[in-house]
Symmetry: C2
Subunit: 209 residues, 2 copies
């Protein structure tokens, strides 16, 4: 996971404020690594503190609860995977580009997969976050598929809502299979096949008059 | 999770062999509950021992390593979710019946989701098991979709292999969304929509001559 450590190795802090912000960032980076390797339940604050080279007491000054740290890690992951979707059919290309980009940050996808799995248990502090996040993505994709439906390009039998939830599910599930066996599935080409069967071509409007 | 405990409350053991088998089963039941609540990484052997009412030393007599216990739990889960798929298009109905049955054993699905997520991390003892299991299901579904393709019922653009991996992915991903927000998705009806768009109706063979 080569993306870890950039903040840790950044220059000396200038003044107490810069120092605090950089230490926070370094703690989140370390927690990212620890949670990715051990999950949230199995990743201890002590391991995070060890990795960042501070005492657990100092760490608790920045993140009073382990769950605060989890939420910071989840937000960081979202920032790393953030993508702005263009309207209409161009969003399909954007999704496929995002898939290709994700293949280069396998550690981030691993962390997401572990934390999403853990989040289904009652009382897990990431549960509400993950639930809201998936609902937000479903809403966003529903709007995109509605644009396609309005243009007569969604195959009959598929609603925008079902297409959106299915795209999210398919993507998550294919990531799981890819992480377990990278040669078994090609996420982008499998998603492309899904789009091919549910989205009709843009050209050739039917002669209506 | 009402399915837990049946073995624990079963009658008194008759003889040492029956006792050992029943204790093993009770330990697996307890591990099921503990791993479902805390994940594999976060679920300690001590918690399992406490729940089953024995010392950790006694427990280690039955399962020398924590990973042995994980594999026993995964096998138990498979037995609980086992389904025999009929040939041809009837397998679609069998899949949908299985989905409805799974909705009644939410705790089992939760455990599967947590353990599948954790399995993607390097060194997780469930990784090979989960990887093989998904490969086996993909192979099985590929054969079913090939039957449909041979009958001219798989929509052009979808291969049996891609349809199979997509079905597994969609199912896993929808389970995640359902566990996080049961009102947001209906797994069976979403899978039905997927089948509706990729599988063509059986009737009306095209007039070929």
């Amino acid at each position: 996971m080569t993306y870890i450590g950039a903040v840790v190795s950044a220059g000396r802090p200038r003044g107490p404020y810069a120092g605090a912000a950089e230490r926070r960032a370094a703690i989140v980076d370390a927690a990212f690594t620890v949670f990715a390797a051990h999950g949230y339940a199995g990743g201890s604050l002590q391991k995070v503190a060890d990795l960042v080279g501070m005492s657990q007491t100092s760490l608790l000054h920045y993140f009073p609860k382990k769950s605060d740290l989890l939420l910071a890690v989840l937000r960081k992951r979202d920032e790393m995977g953030e993508v702005v979707l263009p309207p209409g059919g161009a969003f399909i290309d954007a999704v496929l580009r995002q898939v290709r980009a994700n293949e280069t940050i396998q550690g981030v996808i691993e962390l997401y997969t572990v934390l999403a799995g853990e989040a289904v248990t009652r009382g897990n502090p990431g549960r509400e976050y993950m639930s809201r996040r998936l609902a937000g993505i479903r809403d966003e994709y529903t709007r995109k598929f509605r644009d396609l439906a309005d243009a007569g390009r969604l195959r009959p039998g598929m609603t925008p809502e079902v297409a959106a939830a299915s795209l999210v599910a398919l993507w998550d599930g294919l990531q799981l299979q890819w992480l377990l066996d990278p040669d078994a599935v090609d996420i982008a080409s499998h998603l492309q096949s899904f789009f091919d069967v549910i989205v009709l071509p843009a050209e050739s409007p039917a002669p209506s008059t």
